[in-house]
């Protein structure tokens, strides 16, 4: 197969960036999208040119490193699939494919298709954990957790932190990412004691980072390679309102 790639090249956050066209020749339909890029890059390197920079690591859809807009879709047109698990058989021979980095203000471009997603780390640091020191844990089976609750928490916990939700959101909102972690921890008895404080602080941090607001377009849910549900968002809304309004009106300070 052969493809024409229109790739966003940008030397750094200060550079304005531009599209450059590359030809990807003689690509096997069995190769993955990133392997196709590898091939283009290797031919660039062989000519002494700098390859197209993109984030990637595990290449099995779990580390969350890969991140690019492929022809207008975060991670490409296949649902529930990261860019690294996308295969060329899903494209038409001779197709022109446009590649862009995530475009959200809190994710500044590092180079070409690579962005800085440390905003997500800072959101987790603001409260995305259970405060338990090593060694102080009670016996694991002491607190039974109903299977449906554990399964539901797992569904939210499968988030890989790739940023596709914020990247695909017309408002640049990170609500799906934040709410997945909030719900994962808030719904479990281990995370419940800190739930209101966690919600308030993670939302505050998310706002400070400069992400936009959810207007229920639902793009995030469709773009999410782990198919995390927008239900998390409404549950987080509820927890947030509880933590910042009701708790204060009725004189408690949340559970902080």
């Amino acid at each position: 197969m052969r493809f024409t790639l229109k790739v966003w090249r940008q030397n750094g956050p200060g550079d304005s960036g531009r599209f450059v066209e590359y030809a990807a020749e003689d690509i096997s339909s069995d190769s993955s999208f990133l392997e196709m890029l590898d091939r283009v890059n290797e031919s660039l390197e062989a000519e002494g040119e700098e390859p197209i920079v993109f984030d990637h690591d595990c290449r099995e859809g779990i580390c969350g490193a890969c991140s690019m807009m492929i022809d207008g879709y975060a991670h490409g047109p296949e649902r529930g699939t990261t860019a690294c698990q996308l295969h060329m058989r899903h494209f038409k021979d001779g197709q022109t494919i446009t590649l862009e980095p995530w475009r959200v203000r809190p994710f500044p471009v590092v180079r070409d298709l690579m962005v800085d997603r440390s905003a997500f780390d800072r959101i987790i640091e603001s409260g995305g954990y259970v405060s338990v020191n090593t060694g102080s844990a009670p016996e694991a089976n002491l607190i039974p957790i109903p299977k449906d609750i554990a399964d539901d928490a797992f569904d939210s916990a499968t988030c890989i932190g790739c940023g596709a939700c914020a990247a695909s959101c017309p408002n640049g909102s990170a609500m799906l990412f934040v709410s997945a972690k909030v719900h994962h921890l808030n719904s479990l008895p281990q995370g419940e004691p800190e739930s209101l404080k966690r919600t308030a602080e993670m939302v505050m941090r998310m706002d400070e980072e400069g992400f936009g607001n959810c207007t229920n377009h639902g793009e995030c849910e469709v773009a999410c390679p782990k198919e995390i549900s927008m239900r998390n968002i409404s549950r987080m809304n509820r927890d947030f309102v509880r933590s910042s309004l009701l708790a204060r009106v009725f004189g408690s300070n949340g559970n902080s």
Binding site: G72, R103, P170, G172, G212, H217, V222, R231, I233, N237
Partner: protein
């Protein structure tokens, strides 16, 4: 009020304000629509005995209450609009550069035209107040306290009726996404409830819109005169 400004300062806080004010205005719309339907009771023997005029007089019985309501509505509207403008600004800042190619998969006409629908409605509301409350839009078609006549005379003009019909179309789009979003914002998350909310959103939008649109259309088709 420290907690409120902190709450309002957050994205979810602002969204909650939009949702609550939106729902309040929907409540008003339902009442307004039921009032409007009095037009189908037709013309009474005298203007005073005309149902629609009776309803309008009823509102004016207690001017204090009327103004309180008007003020409440105005507050809701201003909060709604101002907050949405703030949110919109934040959203634009979050996406300073658009994609050269972006294909939407889930965003639809309802969610994407909220803003335009809202602007259209705002313009319409101003026109509507100038037209039927203050009587300055078409002074020739307006006579104070003769609500029924004013309505009939105005809507016999296809252009004016058309504006009202168009406004209700905008209302439909705005209402459906608004109702569903409001409940999502306020934390309805169970899939079954969410399904119900979607049905409710459509049903409410349809009922309100049909209720409103029936008046100009009814007049235009000479069902009432």
């Amino acid at each position: 009020m420290g907690w409120f400004s902190a709450f309002y300062g957050s994205s979810i806080g602002k969204k909650t304000v939009v949702a609550v004010t939106g729902l309040a205005m929907i409540g008003f719309l339902v009442g307004h629509m039921l009032g409007n339907l009095q037009v189908f009771a037709g013309r009474g023997p005298t203007p005073e005995e005309t149902k629609l005029n009776e309803y309008a007089e009823l509102l004016r019985m207690e001017m204090g209450l009327l103004w309180a309501m008007r003020l409440g509505l105005l507050t809701a509207l201003v909060l709604h609009v101002v907050t949405v403008i703030k949110l919109r600004g934040e959203n634009r800042r979050a996406r300073p550069q658009n994609y050269a190619v972006q294909r939407y998969q889930s965003a639809n006409a309802f969610s994407r035209f909220m803003m335009w629908g809202g602007i259209a409605l705002l313009a319409y509301v101003v026109y509507h107040i100038l037209h039927l409350t203050m009587g300055v839009a078409h002074p020739d078609l307006f006579e104070p306290h003769h609500v029924y006549d004013n309505v009939i005379h105005s809507f016999q003009k296809p252009l004016i009726a058309g504006v009202y019909v168009l406004a209700t179309v905008a209302l439909y789009f705005h209402l459906y996404h608004g109702v569903v979003s409001a409940f999502q914002t306020l934390g309805v998350s169970h899939p079954r409830h969410l399904q119900n909310v979607r049905v409710l959103g459509h049903a409410l939008a349809v009922v309100i819109v049909v209720g409103f649109v029936s008046v100009p259309v009814g007049v235009l088709l000479r069902v009432v005169s």
